[in-house]
């Protein structure tokens, strides 16, 4: 038996190679992608319910954010000039491949929506594009969770059931926050409610994720990831409270609450990023859960592999 918390390793060195992704690029990509996708959903709703002063900034945000997120993704490549190689295959086993195609479909729709709104040209096509972008946008916000969870990185992979909900909530609160900043309070009602609902979903899903992922939850409470997550929670609670109570009457309160929600969403993405990196750096998060899994399997009735007779207790 391995006593709890004790494990063996090769001189404490990590089992996994460290993610090559840079924090600003990839966490930024997660944040921007979420902001874009949820803004498109908000824009579609505003378009359909006659709130042009909300629809326009949401569409422009979607286009700007998705452009920035694509730029961040390309910047992160070791060979940026080869980014188009992602479009030479369609590969369902690769979330990055599926994501590339999703962005290839979503980006032009978001662009068309924003450009037709600003120029007033082709209003019908613009409306159809905005609705399409709204639907695809919901997938843009959650596919990035699959992207990072489909790795061997413990604090990403073990959270794969809740991570898409964390990202959906975080994206909705960010897009709501932006809507509160950019639209006059009379038309920003849906943005306020999306922000509050999003913040609630995010806080709940983070809590649920941390409870269900075992040892891999630890990095979310420690070090840089822990600090970022605590900041995200505080900003989220403050921003949501402001959105619910004050933002309808005061434009200043709306702008402050919106900014807090945007900052909270960014903090969440950086927290998730850094928690994953921390879990890849320490062999504990790889070895201990796997060891426990093996031992649980050995105890199962009918286990075909007998427990090892030669368990050694000396430290490696």
């Amino acid at each position: 038996m391995v006593p709890k918390g004790e494990f063996r390793s090769y001189y404490g060195m990590p089992v996994l190679n460290q993610p090559t992704w840079k924090a600003a690029d990839i966490a930024g990509y997660l944040f921007m992608g979420g902001l874009a996708g949820a803004s498109s959903a908000l824009a579609a709703g505003a378009e359909l319910t006659g709130r042009p002063a909300l629809a326009r900034p949401a569409k422009i945000t979607a286009l700007g954010a998705i452009s920035l997120s694509a730029a961040a993704l390309i910047h992160d490549l070791g060979r940026p000039e080869r980014f188009a190689n992602m479009l030479r295959v369609f590969k369902p086993t690769s979330p990055m491949s599926m994501g590339s195609w999703l962005l290839a479909a979503y980006g032009p729709l978001a662009g068309l929506g924003a450009v037709t709104d600003v120029t007033g040209l082709f209003p019908r096509a613009g409306r159809a594009a905005s609705c399409g972008a709204g639907v695809l946008g919901s997938l843009v916000t959650t596919y990035t969770a699959v992207l990072i969870c489909d790795t061997a990185v413990p604090s990403w992979h073990e959270g794969y059931r809740q991570m898409p909900f964390v990202f959906a909530g975080s994206a909705a609160s960010a897009a709501g926050g932006l809507g509160m900043i950019a639209a006059p309070p009379a038309q920003a009602g849906p943005a306020r409610r999306a922000a509050v609902l999003g913040a609630a979903l995010e806080l709940g899903a983070v809590e649920r994720m941390r409870r269900s992922m075992g040892l891999a939850a630890e990095p979310y409470g420690a070090g840089r990831a822990g600090r970022l997550l605590r900041a995200a929670t505080a900003l989220s609670v403050a921003g949501a409270a402001g959105a619910a109570v004050l933002a309808r009457r005061s434009r200043t309160a709306a702008i402050l609450s919106g900014a807090a929600l945007l900052a909270s969403s960014a903090c969440t993405r950086f927290a998730v990023f850094h928690a994953g990196v921390a879990s890849a750096r320490d062999p504990k998060y790889t070895v201990v859960p796997q060891r426990e899994r093996l031992e649980a399997r050995a105890k199962e009735p009918g286990a075909h592999r007998a427990p090892d007779p030669a368990r050694v207790t000396a430290p490696g």
Binding site: L16, N17, A41, T93, T142, T151, A152, P164, A186, Q290
Partner: protein, 360 residues
Amino acid sequence: MTTAERPGPALQPEMGFFTDTSICIGCKACEVACKEWNRIPVDDMGLTGMSYDNTQGLGGSTWRHVAFVEQPLPGRTPGDGHGGHEHGHGHDEHGHGGHGSHGSGGHGGPGADLGHGGDGRVVAAGELGGGQTATTGDGGSRLRWLMASDVCKHCSRAGCLDVCPTGALFRTEFGSVVVQQDVCNGCGYCVSACPYGVIDQRPGDGRVFKCTLCYDRLGDGMEPACAKACPTRSIQFGPLEELRARARERVGELHRAGVGEARLYGEDTEDGVGGDHAFFLLLDEPEVYGLPPDPVVPTRDLPDMWRHAGLAALTLLAGVTAAFALGRGETRRAPRTAARRGAAQAVRRAARAGKRGMGR
């Protein structure tokens, strides 16, 4: 559902490595041969100070890595009065009879019968297969050296291959997994998807690199450079089925010789990666060598991941719909009642679905 299914043209058997670490002498001929044949640039030439291993691990410029473990002999725990806690400097006492008295007797573990010849000699690797063993002056063994040449496992279900978005990684006719360097765009996804920490980006180049199982040599009917260079035949190359049979035989042989801790790693086709094309005979737990004890290909859970992402996307749409539906009367152009009712129903349905999804 994966692209990792083996192609296996009828006439070409799957090939692989069987690395028998019990006869590895840690000479690193494999590391050197690999570097030379594949023209891999030097990497950090520093000294680690932790052991004789200054290579440290596999990476973009290291495709074979010889691990070096120094540990007290199995069966001697720090608490049993045999100085297990002295590991790390125990070999300094080699030959100093004065220290030997508390090192003798009590050969409790299966490995404890190894390597003490009564004459205080160090048992050569391969003689019994228990790893290199250092002894004290009176012949009582105190610590052992484990050496193991690590390499890409060429997993039957390879995480790196599954997630590669450019198709740069592919499965060869030999069953191995190879990067096409002219296609890789350095996205780094494969690096995080490898459960063994093998493939890595080469700094300054941007692309990823790893063992190719000497794809170029195989095409010409030669064995990989490392296997060719290995002086003890610790690294064996051949058809996978043949290697597996040979490996099982070798474990039996070692068990009969009293080396109870010998075990195979990565040969089981039922494991989390569908079995490795490069598998090992180890003398201790995998994690002691820096290997994951129960690796699983991340894409095993991919269908479930997409299901959750889909439910979360629906939840988002439902939430946004609710944000609008709850605001009736807020604007002059409120949506018609029927549409509102329909929307509210959709919201409730999706919210329920979302809740269910998150719990699983």
